[in-house]
């Protein structure tokens, strides 16, 4: 992947002398990512297929499909965890470094992203005449761990998902909106044990706008789920195999449009 950086906006005025302005050499930034291939197999004995009532091959196929998407998510999580800059929350009250999150911490990241001309990911949700609901602004994404959920509820100005004016089409993982961010939580979110000043688990929360990162799939290779029959797998045709396989390359495409917060929780961890 590559992109051309903006041209300088300095100067450029023609003074009428007939002298041409200096030419500018465009700068291209190359972003590389290695294609990696991942696979998983399940070997099943014919007796399981014959005697088990639960249609095991169908269920195993579904399991492999779930593994495939979970693995993709975890690989992207690892990219967020490793290759971007995080700033510690300091506005919380738990006395740790980083602290539990506060509104000022979220506002700080919004300032960073806006200052770098990042664009929001999600459209605004308009207000409606429903009690206890409110609008959300167009927003950046914030990914976090489910262990942070209780702390999000305490952040000033938080709008829990139940209080959105419009809930159609929302993902189950979405938890709330804080400042200019819509927050999504997962039990597989980024956590770093024993990494705070006081030795608490630190939760890293990547926060980003559009085109900050990329997940690239290999042409004609992505998301293959296959079956190897018993006469291929086993010399006496008793074992069969199901497999899932996919290729992926991942990259941070623009560090200006991604930032993040380190936080600890006020809950026991």
């Amino acid at each position: 992947m590559s992109r051309f950086e903006r041209l300088s906006t300095e100067g450029g005025q023609l003074d009428g002398s007939g002298i041409d302005p200096a030419s500018e050499v465009p700068v291209r930034t190359d972003i590389d990512a290695q294609v990696e291939i991942y696979a998983k197999t399940i070997t099943t004995n014919e007796q399981v297929i014959l005697f088990e009532m639960n249609k095991t091959l169908t269920k195993f196929t579904a399991l492999l499909g779930q593994w495939l998407r979970e693995k993709e998510d975890l690989l992207m999580r690892d990219l967020w965890a490793s290759s971007i800059s995080y700033i510690n929350c300091t506005g919380g009250t738990n006395g740790d470094q980083p602290s539990n999150p506060s509104l000022q911490d979220f506002n700080n990241i919004e300032t960073i992203l806006l200052g770098n001309d990042a664009r929001t990911m999600l459209a605004s949700l308009d207000a409606m005449d429903k009690f206890s609901t409110g609008p959300t602004r167009d927003a950046f994404i914030c990914l976090s761990h489910t262990n942070m959920a209780a702390d999000f509820q305490k952040v000033s100005g938080v709008l829990l998902k139940a209080n959105y004016a419009e809930r159609e089409g929302l993902r189950p993982e979405e938890y709330c909106a804080i400042s200019r961010f819509r927050v999504f939580v997962s039990s597989k979110g980024i956590s770093v044990p024993g990494a705070s000043l006081l030795g608490r688990t630190v939760y890293k929360m990547p926060m980003y706008g559009v085109e900050a990162a990329a997940k690239i799939e290999q042409n004609n290779y992505s998301s293959v789920i296959g079956y190897r029959p018993p006469w291929v797998v086993s010399s006496v045709a008793q074992n069969s195999q199901l497999y899932a396989k996919f290729a992926i390359a991942r990259a941070i495409t623009n560090q200006n449009w991604v930032s993040g917060l380190n936080a600890t929780t006020t809950q026991a961890s």
Partner: protein, 330 residues
């Protein structure tokens, strides 16, 4: 079903821990020390080490150990210095917490701590007393002895000395490379020299672009959000030179202990691609190193971590080690 020898390999010990990738995982793992098998050392050393998946605790092993000065073998269980089977990454190999007794207010900072760390290990500092602003940072250590080590990347002159705290050895790399690094110093110069808490040559190469995140608490606010190209790297000093003129910037300084925990931490630098340059006169292309600058998985998992030493599976320096990974298919 079959009990199969899945993989076999060998290596010559360098006296340090070894990671062995196991694509097919393992249910039984064994090493034999071919060098020590033909010696009768005094004291006796371990010649064979065994591990069973799910039955052997982390960092433990069954050790077949020679008695002093003879070939007679004793089988003993060891609870440390054995095998650690790592299935997720980054995970720490044998990551026991270890107490610090002092951190000097010097540049570089020197740590006093009874430890078993190796040269170049990366450790995480936390629970510090005195030097609070470094609580939570990851550092690389050198000049390691059993009683302490030096952190080239930590510049602590003028700060309050640390009087206590804890460390924990962590994995050498993050899950994905190139990774972001902690910035501990930036000079004011026509080409700024940036020091990081670990050796930047481990993850960056000349020609790569890096993006700076410098919180206001570190002073050099003009550097925040800038992207520069690395023009030089120093493994000896943990520094990189970037094509950013910081001459007129305000001074970079770590926040004081008295500002903790409200001063924002940390200053970091993150990979931001590269600009390929092709010199048509010399035919030399720079700024492109696919093996180093591309985003990629840092460490294959699962792997087996073998601790080093006379009573450990990775052996002592120059020992010839052969290993086997077996798999039970049921």
């Amino acid at each position: 079903m079959a009990f199969t020898l899945l993989q076999q390999g060998n290596f010559t010990s360098a006296g340090v821990g070894v990671r062995i990738p196991l694509p097919g995982s393992a249910d039984y793992f064994v090493t034999n020390n071919l060098t020590q098998a033909i010696t009768q050392a005094n004291p006796g050393v371990g010649v064979k080490f065994e591990w069973y998946n799910g039955l052997t605790a982390a960092d433990a092993a069954i050790e077949w150990k020679k008695t002093n000065s003879t070939d007679a073998l004793n089988m003993v269980g060891i609870t440390s210095g054995g095998f650690t089977y790592v299935t997720t990454y980054p995970v720490v190999e044998a990551q026991a917490a270890n107490a610090i007794t002092a951190i000097t207010a010097a540049s570089p900072a020197v740590f006093s701590q009874t430890n078993t760390y190796s040269e170049g290990d990366i450790i995480r500092i936390y629970g510090t007393t005195g030097m609070l602003q470094y609580g939570g940072i990851d550092i690389q250590i050198s000049t390691v002895s059993g009683s302490g080590y030096t952190a080239i990347g930590l510049r602590a002159s003028g700060l309050t000395a640390g009087t206590a705290g804890y460390t924990r050895r962590i994995s050498r790399f993050s899950a994905v490379l190139p990774e972001s690094l902690y910035v501990t110093e930036i000079t004011k110069a026509s080409s700024a020299v940036v020091r990081t808490s670990i050796d930047p040559t481990l993850v960056y190469v000349v020609g790569m672009k890096v993006h700076f995140s410098i919180p206001a608490s570190f002073g050099m606010t003009q550097m925040n959000g800038l992207t520069g190209t690395i023009t030089a790297l120093s493994s000896a000093n943990y520094t990189m030179t970037v094509n950013i003129d910081s001459t007129a910037f305000t001074t970079f300084a770590f926040p004081l202990t008295t500002a903790s925990p409200t001063a924002q931490l940390f200053a970091t630098v993150a990979p931001a691609g590269a600009s390929t340059q092709y010199n048509t006169s010399t035919g030399v292309q720079t700024g492109y190193d696919f093996n180093s600058q591309s985003f990629r998985t840092s460490q294959f998992v699962p792997f087996m971590y073998l601790a080093a030493g006379a009573q450990s599976p990775a052996g002592q320096t120059s020992d010839s080690i052969v290993w086997q990974a077996w798999k039970k298919e049921n």
